[in-house]
Symmetry: none
DNA sequence: AATGAATGAGGATTCATTCAT
DNA sequence: CATGAATGAATCCTCATTCAT
């Protein structure tokens, strides 16, 4: 019978992750040391290692929760057309790209790229890819089902293409800066391209 | 009067870089140690430090040469229309993306992302960005001058957009694999999108 | 709440310093390596670096404590005339010079001379100079105040002169050996010279 | 049959030493590297190692020549009283002390102190000590023989005492600076003290 | 459950000296 | 004689992780 409840345990984890998050964002994944995390969390080495067995473990939990939060927010809360949903989705991505620099995303890229050979990280990469691909695919599929979209191209390819673009714009935002790369303009352009792919015959709707 | 000629010196450098390249590709930038490079080059620590003052120095020389090689290959060797040149360029990029996994590109991403806070690396990022942006911009500009292209969108935004996409497709190729993401299909799609942006009024040429 | 008390911490420091001291004395400052200190202290690298961040840090703490010990011993514990105090002081110096060879003093000279260009060490030199000069100046000043001393020469110059001599005799003791340079005789001579400078009119007291 | 004459050999040595001297003065003995010496001499490693087998060898030759030069200059070139010679000698020492900072003396101290355990350096220390002691002893002896000096103290002790003082004042000049320690005043004081020791009955001569 | 002192392998870098040319 | 490229042992220092308390 554990002396502390599951809730307390969760509270500690969340506490550690909060500290870890700020350390990772500030220093990057590689440069962040357990010492930093321990110090910022106001705990001891033992105290942290009791909940996480190493730096990677901490980071993965952080990522997992990030994903969960994202998924939660993603559910459309009001009825809308498939295109509106798609638009909203891209809008969301634009916002995320814009805010990426100060967030965990650069760390995640770093983590995944540095560890691209590691089996565990590879599976995380795949999982993440599948998740992004899947959610976009669902959006398009929805439009197809409704008859809104009549894509002139293979849907699979189109979605891959979209994923590539979003990854790229994330990377560019992080490395070069959102302003510098005309983030807003790029998304506008993307939107119009997507419309002409998904709804090639559709009358131009006012944006 | 130097004991070894500039050519021999260059041969040694090239020898070291060859070893370093394979180490970097195999282990990644962070995980590679000078010890690895020294061992694989069949030289001594001193022998390597005689030519390069640290791991970063080795890597940067490797990158620099990579860039130079790329630039050399880029010069179009026969007269062609702007669109043909553009097509060729994208074809080249596709080939490079396909070959990226086994090459130095993943390391470069790693190097740049891990060091995104470092001033020197930031300037390398900018330089690289400018180079890629510049060469694409030139291609489009050429088409404009010739009257081949009548882009319906801002050229600057379009080029930024293209850069983002290429970065993204590189990243995806590296992380998820060219086959998995339907690399060829993506480039085909990209090509057709670019055509409709650059030559919105043009008759559809059979691809 | 620290796991080990300040006292234990101090005990570890003192333990490391004891080891370091013997290494420094045996090998000299330059020749001593952290590896030596680590080995002799029976600890690990990390264990030593936990308390001191490098060789110099260890050495400076060693020096600092040496100075403190010296200062403690210096307080005259019984009432005496200024001349008696002066005599005692010189006696103390003689003893220290005699014991210098087997102590830390040679290392300190080494440290200061080798690093004579380094700003930090320069300030240590000055500090040390001021301390020695100051304590001697105080002794003479005391005699002046009491009317015991009527020096025929500038007090400042005399004290500088004394410092030089003491430094020299230290150096000679270390390098050539106390016996060889007739340390005792030199101090006797110095004492009589000082008396005739400080109390030129005084009746000769039998030594 | 050597291909180069002894003279040429000597010229090369002198050339190397000139470079070495400036390196040693600039960086200090420990900090100077063979690479520095090789570079400044405009020669190659092999070229230097052909004449000197290591850094110490270079330095010792430098010292030896320094001593020889000093000895040459020391011969009094005109007849004078023993006291005048003594005075001149001290004057010479004052000048040397004043110029010590920019010369080889700091290096020599460094070399001797750092290597105080090394048998070869110890013998150099002794040799140097004997030389200094000997030349001073000769001066005093000369005064005794002429009947000029009637020292009230043991001549041996007095000379040791003088050597200590000179060593000390050298050290202080190097470390603290000639101005700071009132070099001139110290020598004046020393002179008057010496006079009263060597010629206790003599009438005070106006300085 | 929590602490935090201690571990020690591992990585980067230097430099006196050698030796093939 | 002269060169200078090459050697590699030696040094410093960090940091993820453990474990006695």
């Amino acid at each position: 019978m554990p002396k502390i409840t599951q809730q307390q345990k969760e509270a500690v984890r969340s506490d550690i992750l909060k500290a870890a998050r700020s350390v990772f964002i500030e220093k990057g994944y590689e440069a962040a040391s357990m010492k930093d995390i321990v110090a910022r969390s106001g705990r001891s080495f033992g105290g942290v290692y009791l909940y996480y067995s190493n730096k990677e473990d901490v980071f993965l939990d952080l990522l997992r929760r990030q994903f969960e939060d994202m998924a939660e927010n993603f559910a459309p809360d009001k009825p809308m057309s498939a295109w509106e949903a798609f638009e909203r989705f891209l809008g969301e991505q634009e916002k995320r790209a814009r805010e990426a620099v100060g967030g965990l995303a650069p760390c995640m890229f770093e983590y995944l790229i540095v560890g691209r050979r590691d089996a565990n990280r590879r599976s995380l990469i795949e999982e993440r890819h599948r998740a992004v691909y899947g959610s976009m695919f669902a959006l398009v599929q929805d439009g197809l089902r409704r008859g809104e979209f009549q894509p002139s191209k293979s849907v699979e390819t189109f979605v891959h293409w979209l994923v590539s673009f979003l990854d790229g714009i994330f990377l560019e935002s992080i490395m070069t800066g959102a302003e510098r790369i005309e983030l807003a303009g790029q998304f506008e352009l993307l939107l119009s391209v997507c419309r002409s792919i998904l709804m090639p015959l559709g009358k131009e709707e006012s944006k």
